[in-house]
């Protein structure tokens, strides 16, 4: 009667549903924003959520999927921020045109630095890798603070940004599309042969090597990719805030992103997306608890590690196909009832 319900078909339909859903959301948001029906503060919030999603999902690739604790993620964001901002500043094009190349350049520069750092760093075992990435993150920040071209600790500003009156939705669109892409990339990467190799490294590096996996290559690849997307996130953040303050891209920021990955479930892309959203949103809503925020976070972090180390989602992912199957089965059941249960 109907086509065989193979895995491939399931995946194809999942993808279509997801794509359709995203397109609809994007269009709806644009309409709402243009009609002025959405508070600018809400749009800002959504933009920050998007940026954090990009940062968290990219960190998830190296820390969650590959199991390598990296503590300098914010350093790559900082590099990408400067590169992107300096580019848009230098070319003088309208931002809508210059932002895409700027982000690519930011990502590439972060990736190059990530690659250079990764070559020595990834040879080291877990704890040492964590410390050395922490160190590099701090070195990047310290250097940024002392260079003249970055304007040091005073912050780099004066580069183009979108005006809220003329381009209220443009940056939102950029962030939305890029975040969706990063999630997509992370998912397809994770389910490809490269993803299997990467996960194997997390599960048992020695067994992975014995099975023929070139661990050094994959570690470097994933680390560089993660740095690339962090750079892109940084570039977006810079153009959202209009200023790059190195102190915002230090160890605390790295830990914040790490928390999103950990709480959501290391290795779960859905988890990273959800917890990035919640952890960006919650502090705004719970303004009154601002003083206790970091304290609560630290307690939360410890509790999660002690009682549910797999995080909220564990390693599970959102199965888009499930709701579809449920709806379809209900539909068929109804149809079968109507025709008196006959036929196949």
């Amino acid at each position: 009667m109907s086509k065989p319900w193979t895995k491939t078909r399931k995946r194809a339909i999942s993808s279509l549903i997801t794509l359709g859903f995203l397109v609809v959301v994007l269009l709806v948001m644009n309409v709402l924003i243009q009609l002025g029906l959405v508070n600018a503060g809400v749009v800002d919030m959504l933009k920050f959520i998007g940026i954090n999603i990009i940062a968290a999902v990219s960190l998830n690739m190296v820390s969650g999927m590959m199991g390598q604790l990296v503590l300098g993620h914010a350093g790559f964001m900082l590099v990408g921020a400067y590169a992107a901002a300096m580019f848009t500043n230098a070319v003088g094009w309208p931002l809508t045109a210059s932002l895409t190349p700027a982000l690519i350049i930011g990502g590439l520069l972060a990736a190059i630095i990530g690659f250079l750092i990764g070559i020595p760093a990834l040879r080291l075992r877990g704890d040492y890798l964590a410390i050395i990435t922490l160190g590099f993150g701090e070195i990047i920040r310290v250097i940024a603070n002392s260079l003249t071209i970055t304007n040091g600790a005073k912050g780099y500003y004066g580069f183009p940004t979108f005006s809220t009156r003329q381009d209220p939705a443009t940056l939102f669109n950029f962030i939305f599309v890029i975040a969706a892409f990063v999630v997509f990339f992370s998912y397809t990467f994770g389910t490809s042969r490269h993803g299997r190799a990467v996960i194997a490294i997390r599960e048992d590096e020695i067994a992975a090597e014995s099975s023929g996996i070139r661990t050094t290559y994959y570690k470097l690849l994933t680390f560089t990719l993660s740095a690339f997307f962090a750079g892109v996130a940084g570039g977006l953040l810079a153009h959202q805030l209009g200023i790059i303050d190195p102190s915002n891209y230090g160890f605390s920021k790295s830990v914040e992103i790490l928390m999103m990955v950990v709480l959501g479930g290391m290795g779960s892309i859905t988890g990273s997306v959800v917890s990035a959203s919640v952890l960006t949103f919650l502090p705004e809503v719970l303004r009154g608890f601002a003083n206790y925020r970091m304290l609560i976070y630290s307690v939360l972090l410890i509790c999660v590690m002690l009682f549910r180390p797999k995080g909220l989602f564990g390693r599970a992912e959102l199965r888009v196909i499930k709701p579809y199957e449920w709806l379809r089965d209900r539909h068929r059941a109804k149809k079968a009832q109507k025709t008196g249960g006959g036929g196949s």
Binding site: G67, L69, L124, A130, L134, V142, F251, M294, L295, M305
Partner: protein
């Protein structure tokens, strides 16, 4: 002249790093954990000294009180946070993240209690003024003396006492140690207590040397002490000493000749160099993973 000052200061600071590095090294030797919260124990120690002194107790009470309190805090942390994960055989990354959480917890807790501003600490020890070439070195000498004494005591304890030998056994092969009748949980607790006590001693010296404390002082200090421990050879007691002093001198030299803003970068630079050339550290032993 300036060079001499910075060099001597560097030695004085190095002694503090050495003391803290000792604690790091010991804990890492036993549980293979970089206790991120270790640096913040120094902060706890410093604030304890500050508080006890502010209640007008004499200095010796403040010192003993701080050592005791830190040892207890260290034991609580290890029991509540780490022991559980260690028993479950949790992956290393989980322990590291928990340690980060504990560190954040301590920093923010103390920030809430004491406020984030710096607190001035009165001079603690009435030392005879000793000068070399016009430079006051009494503090430096004190720091170095205390650090050396602590190192010797620690070496004696680990090498000669029954508990010390049990510590060595646990650090080499925890499984075998348990089979030999050693209560490894108790040994781990003890190690954390000693490590934290050493950090407290370091905090006393810190208060005396710098006379200013903040809730965030522990983070950078701890990290630098960790670099010192790795540099000298993690798991090695004389190595921690060596690493601490070398780091202190390197910082002093950088302050004298280089850009002092880049001091932190220099510290991490040293770490990167040693990890690339001799990851086991100057005096460390290379430990093979059992396959």
């Amino acid at each position: 002249m300036y060079f001499l000052t910075q060099l001597l200061n560097g030695l004085g600071v190095g002694a503090i790093y050495a003391l803290v590095a000792l604690g790091y090294s010991m804990v890492y030797g036993i549980v293979q954990l970089i206790n991120f919260a270790h640096g913040d124990i120094i902060m706890v120690g410093s604030f304890t000294v500050y508080t006890i002194l502010s209640w007008n107790f004499p200095v010796p009470v403040a010192v003993m009180g701080s050592i005791l309190f830190c040892a207890i805090v260290g034991m609580i942390i290890s029991r509540v946070a780490y022991q559980r994960l260690l028993n479950k055989g949790a992956p290393r990354i989980a322990l590291l993240i928990t340690a980060i959480g504990v560190s954040m917890l301590l920093q923010n807790l103390y920030q809430l209690i004491y406020g984030s501003g710096a607190k001035a600490v009165p001079r603690m020890f009435d030392l005879p003024a000793i000068t070399v070439g016009g430079v006051q070195i009494s503090n430096t000498l004190l720091n170095i003396a205390v650090a050396l004494v602590m190192m010797v005591l620690l070496q004696l304890m680990v090498g000669r006492t029954k508990t010390g030998k049990a510590m060595q056994a646990t650090s080499e092969d925890a499984g075998a140690a348990t089979l030999m009748g050693i209560n490894t949980s108790r040994i781990i607790l003890f190690t954390f207590a000693i490590g934290s006590a050493l950090a407290a001693v370091g905090s006393v010296l810190y208060n005396n040397t710098y006379q200013q404390i903040t809730p965030y002082m522990g983070a950078m200090l701890g990290l630098k002490a960790f670099v010192a421990a790795v540099f000298g050879g993690i798991g090695s007691i004389p190595g921690a000493m060596l690493g601490g002093f070398i780091l202190g001198i390197a910082e002093g030299l950088n302050n004298a000749y280089g850009n002092s803003v880049l001091t932190d970068a220099v510290v991490f630079g040293l770490l990167i160099i040693i990890l690339l050339i001799k990851p086991a550290g100057l005096l460390g032993k290379h430990v093979r993973e059992k396959v």
